[in-house]
C-alpha cells in the first residue's frame, strides 16, 4: 500500500495548520512519482481508527505544528525529523486525542503492522483564528519542505 503522510492540525488556527499545508502539497509530488505509492491524509487530531490506515505501509510520516515559541523564545527552533517510537500509553487515550506513538502502537497491537514512523515537527508561534501562517513560520517553510522531501526520498529507498 506504499507510504502514508498524515498532516495534523487545524488549518483555521494560524500556524497549527502547517501539517495540512505540507501534506496538501504532496498531490503535486505524487503526480511526478507513482500516486499509488503515496497517500496523504489531513486530520485535526489522531483518532483510533487511523490505526487501520497504517496497515501494510512501508513508512508513515506525521507532520505537526510544534509549539516552539515558548520553549525557545530566542527563535532558534528549526523544523525537525524525528523517529516515532511505539508508545502504548497516554493519559486520556481512548478519546479523540492520540499521540503519534500511540497510533503506531495501536497499529502494532491490533493489526500486527509496524511501519517505520517519523514525525516532521514544524515550529509554530501563533494560533489566531484564520488560515494565515505567522511570518516566523513562513520563514521556516522552505526548510520544512526540504525535510519532507528528504523523508520522501529516503523512505522510498
Amino acid at each position: 500500500m506504499g507510504r502514508l503522510v498524515i498532516g495534523i492540525g487545524n488549518p483555521l488556527r494560524g500556524d497549527d495548520g502547517v501539517g495540512w499545508h505540507l501534506a496538501g502539497t504532496l498531490a503535486d509530488r505524487s503526480d511526478r512519482t507513482d500516486p499509488s505509492d503515496l497517500t496523504a491524509l489531513m486530520v485535526h487530531q489522531l483518532t483510533p481508527e487511523l490505526a487501520a490506515d497504517l496497515v501494510d505501509r512501508s513508512g508513515v510520516l506525521f507532520i505537526d505544528a510544534w509549539l516552539a515559541a515558548a520553549a525557545d523564545p530566542a527563535g532558534a527552533a528549526r523544523p525537525q525529523l524525528r523517529p516515532v517510537p511505539s508508545a502504548a500509553t497516554g493519559p486520556g487515550s481512548g478519546s479523540h486525542h492520540l499521540e503519534p506513538g500511540a497510533l503506531v502502537a495501536l497499529a502494532d497491537l491490533l493489526f500486527d503492522s509496524r511501519p517505520a514512523a517519523t514525525i516532521l515537527l514544524v515550529p509554530a508561534f501563533a494560533f489566531p483564528h484564520g488560515p494565515a501562517m505567522s511570518p516566523s513560520q513562513r520563514a521556516l517553510l522552505p526548510e520544512a519542505r526540504r525535510l519532507l522531501h528528504t523523508w520522501l526520498d529516503h523512505s522510498l529507498a
Binding site: H44, E49, G92, G94, S95, L110
Partner: protein, 489 residues
Amino acid sequence: MESRPPAAAAMTRTVVIDPVTRIEGHAKITLHLDAAGHLIDTRFHVVEYRGFEKFCEGRPFTEMAGITARICGICPVSHLLCAAKTGDKLLAVQIPPAADKLRRLLNLAQLTQSHALSFFHLSSPDFLLGWESDPAKRNVFGLMAADPDLARAGIRLRQFGQQILELLGGRKIHSAWAVPGGVRTPLSVEAKDWILDRLPEAKATITLALDLYKTLLDGPLRKEQRVFGDFPSLFMGLVTPDGRWEHIDGMLRFRAPDGTIVADGLSEDDYASFLGEAVEPWSYLKFPYYKPLGYPDGIYRVGPLARLNVCDSIGTPWADRELEELRDRSGRVATSSFAYHHARLVEIVACLEAIEQLVNDPECRNGRVRSRASLNRNEAVGVSEAPRGTLFHHYQVNDDGLLTRVNLIIATGQNNLAMNKTVHQIAREYIPDPVPAGTEIPEAMLNRVEAGIRCFDPCLSCSTHAAGQMPLHLQLLAADGQILAERRR
C-alpha cells in the same frame, strides 16, 4: 433539581471532579457535602465557552453548513445536515428525492461511526476492565489487552462509518457536500461496492457487541442499569408521520415515562413555544426544558435512548427485534440513563439495515441532487437527529442573505438537566454517607460518577466548544471555597 445551590451550612465540603475524562470537551463535577458529610447537591459544570452563535452573525447563510460543521470534528455531519436543511427552508425549495436519500445515508454513517466511538472506545473500558481497575489502563489500550478482537472490530466499525462519510463527502470531516437545496454529488458505483463489501463485517461486529453487552447486563452491569440515572423524565425525538424511528425528517414527539405521548406532531418551526432555555451562573451549558412543565420540572432527555423511547417501531426487522429486547429488559420507556449504551447498539443495527437499503436504491445514483433558488424567506428553523440527540438551527437573515441572528440548540445541552440528575443518583449510591472528614473518596466511585456523564456521550465541543486535554482533577472544598483535599490523574 439537584443542581440548585446547596443550602447554607456552616461547614459544607465540595468534591470536584475536574475535568471529566473520556468525553468530548471539558467539564468538571462537584459533589457538595454538608457539615455532617452528607451529599446535599451535585453539579455538572461546563467550563468552556466559544460562542459560535455570535460570530456567525454577518455571514451569508449559505456558509453556515461549512461554518457550523467546524464547531466540532467529532460530529460535523450533524451540523452540516441541519444547516443545509435550514438553508432549504430559506430558499423555500423541496430537495430532489435523491438528495433526501443521500443525506439520510450520510447521517446513518455518522450515527454509526459516532456510536461506535462511544461504545467501543470510550465506554467499553469501564464495562470490560471494571470500575476498580487502574485508571491508567482503563482506556483503549487496556481494552486491547483484555479483548483485542473486540477492540479491532470496534475500530473497523468506526472506520466503516467514517469511510462512508468520505466516499460521499470527499473527506471524513468538515465536508461541504450537503448544501442548501440538496447535495453536490450522487453515490458512485465504487462507493456502493465498497459499502456493500464491508457491510457483512459491520453486521458481525455489532452482533458481537450486542451479545457481549447483554451478557454484561445480565451479570456485572445489572446494578449500573438500576442506579445510573434511573429517574422519570420526558423523552423527545423525531418520528415519522406514522410514529417510526426517524433521524433527519419527520415531526417531534414527547413521551412520558409511563408511555403516554405528551405531545406529537410538533414542528421545529414552533420550538420556542415548547422549549425554554434556562441558564445557571455556574455553567456555560444552557438548561433546556419542556415549557409546559416549567423549569426544572420540564426535564427531558434526547439522543439514542430517547429516539427509541418515543418511536413506536424502527421499521427494519433486525433492529425491531433488538428494540423489543431492549424494551423487555428496560421497560417500554427505558428510564435508566445507562440504557443509552444499549440504545446506541440498537441504533447501529438500524443504521446498517437502512444503509443497505439505501445503497441498493437506484435513486441514490440519480444525478439530479440539487434544487437551485435564491433567497425566498428571512427566517427558518431546521432540525435533525445528531448522534447525541435532536439538533436545532434557527437563522434570521436580511434580504441579502446575511445572518442577523443565529440560535443553535444542541443535543448535549438538552440533556443537561438529566446529566445533573444522573450524577446525583450515582453519587448517592456509591459515595459513603456520610463521608468521614479527612477520608479519600475511592477512585472507583469517582469513575462511576464520571461514567454517568459518559452514558450521554456528551459533546461539549458542540455545546460550547473549546479544545484541551482531559485529565481528572478532584477537589474537596469547604463552603468558603477552601480546598480541603485535592487529587489529579
